[in-house]
Symmetry: C2
Subunit: 360 residues, 2 copies
DNA sequence: TTGTAAGCGTTATCAC
DNA sequence: GTGATAACGCTTACAA
């Protein structure tokens, strides 16, 4: 049984160095008074210490310490018109796809004393627009967005406001927008080529919803192209679109594998779905890759957990995050944008093998 | 080879409805001018529409739309002294432990039109303090913190500033601090009791670093208590502390299992480490649970991926996130704090089984 | 090197 | 219902 208790406050802090207006933040003025200088001097101490004599600086810093002063961000942004803050808006935090890239993004920012703000959209375009407005309103100096599939009006807004944007995880040809990503279509195509070269003819794909997700669409397209090039009718591709989770991947795979015309190859839009697909196949008593091959996409840590490990596309997440940060930090308004295209590679772990005709 | 291109800007937006001061955000004043009302009226339209006549409201809203006006957060916070924003400071986004709880936290906030700000600390206490200050400076109306193991000075600061705090993922007895968590020690103890009842006598644990991590310490303590209660010298516990990742868990397990005195039971501080431990055991050709049993903690999605699935402690992450949001939203400064203790349960999936003496 | 003072974009308290 | 106007906490010319 869960328990909830009410508790009265047990003690009060022994007030030492209580700032003038108790119950709120101490302000620049409090510090100035404490150090008997002007607010301008305090501000300078914090922002460009070299402009202040060592003696006063010391006195001011002592006051800052004593009052535990922290500058008010809103006021600072209002006055300075920049925040040293960059926003990252990602579809979801619920799986590891973006975690590693974001981590790198954040690290690269903090090297230059900038901060990251994160927001997630749950793959909802309206929510994304709301989050973009939110971060803009919070004064973000630049934005990292995933993929470039959103209304032109959103880009217009950002251009109008003069806010640099970098599109990541995909390539973008939009004017005024930089990007750092990889060729999702090509990567998927290469993996499919490798798979089809192993003799598979009955192919299925478990994909994320392709609506308003250009990465998912590109990956699907890559597979279809590969099929065509290999003399297989792309219309024969059995496609299920679902949400990103192990469970969904499992359900989708089970549905496919129960069908009469059972696929010998299930290509998945990412590793999470692929892990689910492996589980699903096994739950039906099928061997992976003996009875059915499975491929992933992303190469996240979990790809090595399944048995066999996932054959998948390695995506340079960390490199991408780092590069995105550089692009935003080094942005000038020359109107020049950069397009950074990173390489992917295929990692073989065993979930994909030759199809032996007659075995299925 | 990775490729980088420079691209000149290709086109300019066909400027329609350009705000007065191009290149920046439109302001309240711009809207007021556009709608030929005062800034006060515009502000009221946005914050308490019922105080404005339908006619002017309509006109103002039209102007807002036309200029794509978004209120400046900093200015708003400065004037209103609240932000409707709550901060969540978590150790890491790099694994799924906190993702689900945060998601629920966020959802619960958005129901009441509040926003979540996330920051991560990489398990570094200094960085945590920095992030706390950061969110406070950004005007957070309340803070969600993980665990209660941090210097009293930090709590003093928060109390002084009048910022409500809720500690989650653990229970806290601090004055002036609410918490919503579960009994980490007890949960670990119960799992250990169940394991030891199966005959295990040579026990190892792979834990997160226990320094400045009260959850990890409590779980370790629970295991030791169980050992004592079951007549096993807790000093015999083979303990490895490491970072949270599958790879680390694997390495740690391999190290332990190569030892002369091989444990028959490896209890892990969380599922990520446990998944690694299972992999590690297998990489040595050992059977789980035949040769060695493994337990996890958390019950995240990945717990069902390993083979066998992880026997672990189920933690009500979503419930915790939701409750934390409620606590912060409903906070009044009566000095009453709530302690919400949630129940955990043991989920059996197969990685833990009876130890047959002589089999190892 | 330091101080003065004019904003920055809101909200809120008054009057009207 | 609506409009002035004084904060809010900070940065940054400009003066001294």
């Amino acid at each position: 049984m869960n328990r909830i208790f009410n508790r009265a406050i047990l003690g009060q802090t022994m007030g030492m160095n209580i700032p003038s207006r108790s119950g709120g933040q101490p302000t620049l003025e409090d510090v100035a008074r404490e150090a008997t200088v002007s607010t301008a001097t305090v501000s300078r101490c914090l922002n460009s210490p070299e402009q202040v004599s060592a003696k006063t600086r010391e006195r001011v810093m002592a006051a800052v310490e004593r009052l535990r002063y922290t500058p008010n961000f809103g006021a600072r942004a209002l006055a300075a018109k920049r925040t040293n803050t960059f926003g990252a808006i990602i579809p979801t935090m619920d799986n590891a796809i973006f975690a590693r890239g974001l981590q790198a993004f954040q690290e690269a920012l903090s090297v230059r004393n900038a901060t990251m703000l994160v927001a997630s959209t749950n793959y909802d375009p309206d929510l994304e627009e709301k989050q973009i407005r939110n971060l803009v309103a919070r004064g973000a100096d630049g934005l990292l967005l995933i993929g470039d599939d959103r209304p032109e009006a959103v880009y217009d807004l950002l251009r109008e406001r003069g806010i640099p944007v970098v599109v990541a995880w995909a390539l973008s040809e939009r004017p005024g927008v930089s990007c750092v990503g990889f060729d999702n279509r090509l990567a998927a195509r290469q993996l499919a080529d490798a798979a089809l070269a192993l003799g598979h003819r009955t192919v299925a794909m478990i994909s994320a919803h392709t609506k308003s997700n250009d990465r998912a669409r590109a990956r699907l397209e890559g597979i279809r192209q590969s099929m065509t090039a290999n003399g297989i009718d792309p219309k024969s591709l059995r496609l299920v679109e679902t949400n990103y989770s192990i469970k969904r991947g499992m359900e989708a795979a089970i549905g496919m594998l129960r069908d009469g015309q059972r696929p010998t190859l299930i290509m998945c839009g990412n590793d999470v779905l692929a892990a689910g697909a492996v589980m699903g196949a096994k739950s039906l008593g099928l061997d992976v890759p003996g009875d059915v091959s499975v491929t992933g996409f992303d190469d996240i840590e979990l790809a090595m957990l399944t048995e066999p490990g996932l054959t998948t596309v390695h995506v340079p997440h960390r490199q991408m995050g780092r590069a995105a940060a550089q692009l935003l930090l080094d942005h000038d308004d020359s109107g020049m944008n950069k397009l950074v295209c990173l390489d992917t590679s295929i990692v073989e772990r065993g979930s994909l093998s030759r199809h032996v005709p007659g075995s299925a």
